[in-house]
């Protein structure tokens, strides 16, 4: 076996040596034979002739020897490749076009795939990640995913037969001020976790240790990110201390960023005094739950068990359980569920683009192949088998495709630099994908011309130089296919674009112009009121500042955790077992003015309202619970849920604000008058970002321990909140535009090719009295028939595929009639234009020339 391989390798790589040796050997044989013949008395001329005769066909022997080496296949491929390169160099412009089209579509696919691979396909960096489960609560209708309660945790933790191990973490960040003496404070997201969370995930610390089963409450694990940024990658960090909101913690370990969980955490603490009632209060839903399935237990069995347990719990506590449900998912699905439809959409759009490019190139190659029929016929007549010719053509296509793949790789790399998740890399799996799709496209678009060449009968081709119509049907089919695919891509992009436009027209309920926002973390020792007044005084004295306000959460990017239940006794909408929740906003009196939130009724807060049981509610809440009435002056219960609830008086109603993004539904909002500074709002008539440095400096002058972060204008926030939408709209739209261009080139190519093929026919028609305009119509009618067939196909395909858009559109039906009518109409008009030039060419055929043709 090894001998065989070595022999073949030598024969292939030292081809010249082996050839020379063979020649020498054969010459030696003939000379020996001739010498013997001479010895037996033959004249020397005859001696050599006889030797040749006895030997047999020497060329045939040579060929058989080459075959015997077992490298024939490789040598043919090499020869094919050399020939392919020669053909490519002979048609530089054509080849460059093909490579460019391929590079764009392969590049798009590779870039999208590398993101898909990174996010969806690559297993999580944990031990045996497929056995990990995430469980959340649901509370209809607002919350599809909310933390679990301590009651649930306790009963789930004991299901040892379905769970090998369970762990909890605080599902929303505990934000605080982290500080080491002598350095500026930094706002960080901390998380409380059960000590077994990292062991359950199989996550090993970068340095130091994880939490012990029973851990000191003052121990802390840092994220690699925080360790590098704030602690300057200090190698001696283990055992050092820092303060978090004034409490002293000791670093016991650093977690590498690869196994960061949850992804927002900067530091992890074990259960301790900073944790409030998350683990004890049965109505809090603030815990994330992760479990490792017991061996042999499937996700469904675990889910069934949890549902049974939950039902039992619900029966025990009917007053707190109505409306609640659970959702169980594999950890990976849970973490990526939100982006999955977007990524799959992008992948789908990119593959459509690739298919269209393939169809286009195939039809280009077909028309070139018909120009090369004579060349092929000559090769066939010289003895090349039709399979051999077919293989030659496929090799040419493959070389083009691989060139396209290499350029596409560069495009993909460039594209990934622009894409938001920059962590996607050209990993081995991605490179394999790239190579596979390059090969697949090469074979796909090389097949059509190859099949045509294999079918061609050399005799008929040589005899009649005009082959009218041959290859026409396959080219037409390709154009129809291409048009159909393009239409579905363009319709999809059209619907997404329309949805994006709708989204941009949505009134967010406030004005972002001139608004600067800053996130601020105040050490707990500071009193909010004096701090607020100090900030107000200093900031308002800055040039350009018009208004200053504070709030606990910003619109568009608010956290759903800032919510609380309320009760409107007497309202028919209230189910005492399932109280509605409202979004809780604290606001200083100037907030509504700074954000330009309109007052619908009553008044906004004044300084006197601070710490009084008064609230401002939004329009949706007013209309929902006090329909047809002005609720100003009325009271409702805002908690606490003990024997002595607080009744709050409504002093005003303000316009709705989009709390969770432009595409979010209207929430029920309750504003409380409060000077708590979570976010600062600075309104100016000028460019808000130009003010940022000055504002920050002023704040640090007031109190160096204020941790300022997320300094952004409200316009930036609005832009970022629509970013995902912009990508889901922008990329498919780009792909669709490229596809459209390719399809136009395709139909133009087919029409001009068919006109060129039919020149003689047109000449005859004209000689027989056809009008020029009739010929033009003939061509146009043909083109339109192709376009309409493609468009019909594409409309059906789009209707079949539209459900994939369901989760991605806003305010538009996925079957939007305007898009479904206008896009095909537009494409038809443009297709007509593309056919116009060939049609005009047809009408200008000169019969006296075309009939003498050939």
């Amino acid at each position: 076996m090894l001998n065989d391989l070595l022999y073949r390798l030598r024969a292939f790589f030292r081809r010249e040596d082996v050839e020379n040796e063979m020649e020498e050997e054969l010459r030696f044989h003939l000379e020996c034979e001739a010498a013997r013949n001479r010895k037996s008395g033959m004249p020397s001329g005859d001696a050599y002739q006889n030797a040749r005769r006895a030997f047999g066909g020497i060329d045939q022997t040579r060929e058989e020897c080459r075959d015997a080496r077992g490298t024939r296949f490789l040598e043919d491929i090499l020869q094919d490749c050399r020939y392919a390169v020669r053909m490519i160099r002979k048609n530089v412009v054509f080849s460059a076009l093909v490579v460019f089209a391929l590079a764009l579509s392969i590049g798009a696919n590779t870039a999208v795939f590398s993101i898909v691979h990174e996010v969806l396909l690559k297993p999580l960096p944990f031990r045996d990640p497929s056995r990990l489960l995430a469980v959340w609560d649901t509370y209809s209708p607002q919350y599809a995913k909310i933390g679990i309660s301590p009651v649930e945790l306790q009963s789930w933790q004991t299901q040892h037969d379905v769970f090998q191990q369970t762990a909890w973490y605080r599902s929303v960040p505990r934000d605080g001020n982290l500080r080491v003496p002598g350095a500026e404070a930094m706002a960080v997201h901390a998380d409380f976790i059960s000590t077994n969370l990292f062991p359950l995930l199989g996550a090993q610390p970068l340095m130091g240790r994880g939490f012990a089963p029973v851990e000191e409450p003052s121990s802390a694990i840092l994220s690699e990110r925080l360790w590098r940024s704030y602690f300057g990658s200090d190698a001696g960090i283990i055992g050092k201390t820092f303060r978090f909101d004034g409490n002293l913690f000791t670093v016991v370990g650093v977690m590498p960023s690869a196994v960061q969980f949850p992804d927002w955490a900067d530091a992890w603490f074990p259960k301790g005094p900073l944790l409030a009632d998350e683990l004890t209060n049965p109505v809090r839903h603030a815990l994330g739950f992760v479990a490792r399935l017991a061996p042999g237990i499937g996700e469904n069995q675990a889910e069934a068990r949890l549902r049974t347990v939950s039902k039992r719990l619900a029966a025990q506590n009917p007053s707190t359980s109505t409306g609640w449900g659970i959702r169980v998912a594999g950890l990976q699905d849970d973490l990526t569920g939100k982006v999955r439809p977007v990524l799959l959409l992008l992948l789908g759009a990119a593959s459509l683009l690739l298919l269209i490019a393939c169809a286009n190139i195939a039809s280009l190659l077909l028309s070139r192949a018909s120009a090369r029929t004579k060349e092929m016929a000559v090769r066939a007549a010289m003895g090349a088998s039709s399979l051999r010719i077919g293989r030659q053509l496929v090799t040419e296509s493959l070389v083009l495709a691989l060139l396209g793949g290499v350029c596409g790789c560069l495009f993909a790399k460039a594209g990934l630099l622009l894409a938001p998740p920059a962590r996607a890399q050209m990993e081995p799996a991605v490179v394999i994908f790239l190579v596979v799709i390059s090969f697949a496209t090469g074979i796909f678009f090389g097949m059509a011309p190859a099949i045509q060449a294999v079918r061609a009968d050399p005799q008929s081709v040589i005899k009649t130089a005009i082959v009218t119509g041959s290859g026409m049907s396959s080219r037409s089919a390709l154009v129809v296919f291409e048009f159909g695919l393009t239409l579905s891509l363009v319709i999809g992009a059209g619907i997404l674009a329309k949805s994006y436009v709708r989204l941009m027209q949505v009134n967010p309920g406030f004005s972002s112009s001139g608004v600067l926002t800053l996130r601020i973390l105040v050490p707990p020792s500071r009193k909010p009121e004096p701090l607020f007044h100090l900030m107000q005084q200093k900031l308002l004295s800055l040039p350009g500042v018009q208004t200053f306000a504070v709030t606990n959460a910003l619109p568009l990017i608010a956290n759903r955790a800032n919510a609380s239940r309320f009760n409107v006794p007497g309202s028919p909408l209230i189910n005492p077992d399932s109280l509605p929740t409202a979004q809780i906003r604290t606001a200083s009196p100037e907030y509504f003015q700074a954000m330009t939130i309109p007052v619908r009724s009553g008044r906004i807060f004044s300084e006197r309202d601070l710490n009084q049981p008064v609230v401002v509610i939004n329009e949706t809440m007013a209309k929902r619970f006090w329909p047809g009435r002005d609720p100003v002056g009325l009271k409702f219960i805002t908690g606490p849920w003990g024997p002595n609830p607080t009744w709050s008086t409504i002093v005003g109603v303000v316009g709705d604000v989009k709390q969770f993004g432009l595409d979010s539904e209207s929430s029920l909002d309750v504003y409380y008058p409060n000077l708590f500074a979570g976010y600062l709002i600075v309104k100016t008539a000028r460019d808000p970002l130009a003010l940022a440095r000055n504002v920050e400096r002023t704040l640090h002058a007031i109190d160096p321990e204020l941790a300022v972060s997320d300094v952004r204008s409200m316009d930036q926030i609005a832009g970022e909140s629509a970013r995902t939408r912009r990508w889901t709209m922008g990329l498919p739209a780009t792909f669709a535009a490229l596809a459209f261009l390719l399809a136009l080139v395709g139909i133009y190519g087919v029409m001009s090719w068919s006109v060129a093929q039919r020149t003689r026919e047109f000449g005859i028609r004209m000689a027989l009295g056809a009008q020029r305009s009739q010929l033009a119509k003939l061509v146009l009618r043909h083109g339109i028939r192709l376009a309409i067939a493609g468009l019909a196909l594409g409309t059906l395909a789009s209707l079949a595929l539209r459900r994939f858009l369901n989760s991605l559109v806003y305010g538009v039906s996925t079957g939007d009639p305007l898009v479904y009518v206008s896009v095909p109409a537009l494409m038809l008009v443009v297709a007509l234009l593309a056919c116009y030039l060939p049609a005009r060419a047809a009408s200008r055929v000169d019969p006296s020339i075309s009939l003498r043709f050939d």
């Binding site: 030696f28 044989h29 034979e33 020497i58 080496r69």
Partner: protein
């Protein structure tokens, strides 16, 4: 000799191995040896030796080495490898069995 036999398919390899069983030979030498030992009974096109030799070399049954002849010419000599030796024995054995069986069938009748 009027009725020389065409070689049955696959027997050329066996004949070459047999010719090389005693000593290393070059291509022409093998063709001479074959003529000799078969007493000109077979019709072997001399050229067809070489593809067969190269195939045997690839399989590792013979080994080729360039040496000088008595006349001081460079020539490619083939010799049997150990593997080739085994192959020869195997094929001879099979051939004998086949001919014996054939003879048996043809004689009883």
């Amino acid at each position: 000799m009027a009725d020389r036999l065409d070689l049955p398919q696959g027997t050329l390899d066996l004949l070459i191995l047999k010719a090389l069983a005693t000593e290393a030979l070059h291509g022409w030498g093998i063709s001479e040896r074959l003529q000799q030992i078969s007493r000109d009974a077979f019709q072997v096109q001399q050229g067809s030796l070489y593809p067969a030799l190269h195939r045997l070399e690839r399989r590792g049954w013979v080994k080729a080495r360039w040496r000088t002849t008595e006349n001081n010419r460079r020539a490619k000599y083939y010799e049997l490898t150990r593997q080739g030796q085994r192959q020869l024995e195997k094929e001879m054995d099979a051939w004998r069995k086949l001919t014996a069986a054939m003879a048996c069938v043809l004689d009883t009748g």
